[in-house]
Amino acid sequence: MGEVSTSMAGRVLLVLIALGSVSIHSMAQMGSSPESRFEQRRLRLMDVVSQERDRGFFTVAAKLATGRDKEFALAMLDSLTSDESMGGMFYSYMAIGTYLRLKDQLPDTLLHKIRRAYRERTMYRGDTENHWVAYYTGLYLAAQTWPNEERSQWFNGKSSAENFKESEEWLSRWMTTTATIGQGEFDSPTYFTVFITPMITLFDFAKDPVMKRKAQMTADLLLADFAAEHLDGNYCGGHSRDYPEDIINPLSAPAALWAWLYFGEPKVELWQESRYRPRYRGGWETLFGAMSSYRLPDVIYRIATDRSKAYVHTETKRVRNIIRFGREKNPPVYKYTYMTHDYALGSLQGGILQPIQQHTWDVTYRSDKPNNTIFTLHPFYSGKELAMFFPEEQKFLADDVDRYHIVYTDPRKWNSSSPYEQTFQHKNAIIVLYDIYPEANHKHIDGFFPKNLDERIDDSSGWIFCRAGSVYAAVFPLRPYEWIEEKINWRWRSADLKNGIVLEVGCSDEDGTFESFKKNVIQSKPALNSSKDDLTVNYKTRRGDAMKFTFGGKRLLNGKTVDFRAYKLFNGPFIQSERGSGVITLTDGNNVRMLNFKKATIKEWQLSKN
């Protein structure tokens, strides 16, 4: 199916290319239906990637699919398959993905070289969830492509049948785990791309109809998971892993390109926009989406784009595998997101849920300007944190990590998990508390406030008021603070060990003018109880809800304890799933798509108007 579809797409594309790339560009956001607009975007993407010169499988695939620079593309592929320094889990799925999509155009010599790579290179499996997904997807498809071959013909000394069985087992297990207790590397604006691309590739080429369907369901699940927390291309709220560049500029993340392709948002072509550069990590994975026969279900498109009503969406995910210093291998992560037409406020419960790159909470708002987010963090690092997740010795783990994730020990970093940070969110209000132990390496908290805010006012009431277009935010620091001017932002910094902020978000649709928002917020002032053994905040929101939050203790909403254990896997107007059920129900209010991972079935129906 995938090959037939790709071939047809190629013919259509050639016609479109004849019209010129400029006209394709202009057509990419036009058209009468979501389907036709998607067609235009995917063809536009193929055209753009086909003009790339950087060495990579996606460049090769785009050039061959569009017929542009074919000789150059074949030479590039020859280089990719001859360079013995290349290998690993990403190579594993990209090489076979390119082979399967374009084998009809490849000379025998290159076909043999790709085959040989799976014999002579180590497709190293890696040590993260996305590594394993990429590795086993590549191995599954390679073993399927070259069945009945002996152990000597494979890099790992296992036969085709052994590799196929192992890959099938792990992929099925991972899909079930994801659909029952959640992903470990969940909701990552960066790593989303290396989950969705293998799943789409698996959907296109798995011959086993059950695996093909499960890949489709998993792609649906990943995209629906994104869609419910998506606002105009931004992946909002808390993330397991993200890079600082993406955290402070959400539309520069790879996930935004997938949003552009499938959700049609943002409207702009991100790669053309200098405000979202310099940041391009990982290349053009979206190309495989553009070339795929996978089609986004309509219901997910509407989940991603219907912001007519504000809603609360909660999720349960899981902590990445804890290998030591823990009582449980995968403790739960609780996510809370409040989504509106103009902004989203989202959070994780806090604590160490992922090493190195956690992003615990933020406000992200719809804006034409970059850096459209506000958040705070405690820049924590420790060898022991890393040793919870990596098997090396904790004393030099931090240095090892710094070599790649350069900012890990930096006191000014913008991504961090911290055992000294906890949150309590209710709709568009959040309390974030920090109880920093004296032995912490960095003893301050930082906040990111973009310089391009239209207004930022340090009010005598103690509130800091911010306005970005029609979106308003009010931040109440619990302790003294200072502002540090940086290139693109103001760094809010506070150095008290028992610390925190209260934040409320609003917009003109909810609150009228900025003045009326400020007036409503000022009427309430957070009350802090802080002693050696206690850090408690009482706060009444501008909507009248009473929040009481004790660090390490209870979260009380209007006198009732918030019990995270009651959280479902997904709970919101668009997605419902009980933990452990493996059944994910997606709805836009009119249509339902039910993914049953235990039975590997998809059911769709319309809701009765009554």
């Binding site: 320094s85 180590t122 000597s152 790992n156 192992e166 297990r173 291998k329 010795e393 004393k395």
Partner: protein, 340 residues
Amino acid sequence: MAAIKKLAPVMFLALLMGIVFSAFRPAPQEKSEGKTYYAAVFLNRGHVTGGTQSNVGLFKRAAGDTVWTNIYRRNLLSFGLGIWEGKSGRRYYIAAGNGLHRSVDGTKSWRVLTDWHTEEILSVAPDPIDSSIIYVSTPFGVFKSIDEGRHWEKKMTGMKKWFVKKVVLDVNDRKKLFAVGEDDVFRSTDSGDHWEALHAGLSDVQSFAQDPASPNHFLAGGEENGIRLTLDGGKTWQTAQGVPKESFYAITISPDGRTAYAGGFKTGLWTSTDAGMSWKLLWKNPEIEAISTIFVHKNDPSHLMIGTSGQGIYESPDAGKTWRCDGLQGCQVRQIELYP
């Protein structure tokens, strides 16, 4: 100042000659003809998992030679090594991030024996007699195979925590094993079926050694815990004297049992000649961040090698009096062995 200026060329020449002599000083006299040193390298500078700058995996250097060569997979993050020798030949093992690798043809070709059920393989201990029995340690426990690695069974009865950094066989009894767990040293007397904690008094155990000449004598090192020892097979433990309460990642006892060596994070190399009860600093090089493994030559106990956390291998021919960098600069070396 003028005198210094006059002397400068001489000093420079002397310095240059020193460097030249140091660089071309011959390798220590080898007593290992026909054998080869193997090193398991876990990381190198510039390495990114999935990237193209890797130069890690299995390296070898012929005895008497001076160059380490990568012989298998430049991106194989390797924790440890193992060997089995018998009538049916030799089996070489690599404990690596993506599984246990085995070669039966003298390291020419390799096969991964484990699958997705085990994650990183942190160490391997092949049974010395029966090639079908293999033990490995992983972040999620000890696993055992009794059919040459076709199937694996988790062996954790008696352990409460799941992280096991290392598993080693008793020097005299192949049914006895020791496991370096997260919270203690564990011993099994029934081939891994059950484990008992030895209550070594270390909260985060990092290293363990059994005295080849006195099998009830054990040493263990911990994270920021210094070194502990027992002389009665783990019934009673005492704290070693003279060593700081730092992190000791490697402990070795010489084959003759006379000398113990220990090193860790910014500790330098320490030595003891009284069963580990008292220690003295043997050598410290400020350029070395951490010592991750120590090798003592079986036939020549004065020939030492240390693997470091990022500065390659250092070698001493004279029981630690003098040292030279032996290569693999920039590499994190996790185990060094001399194999046929």
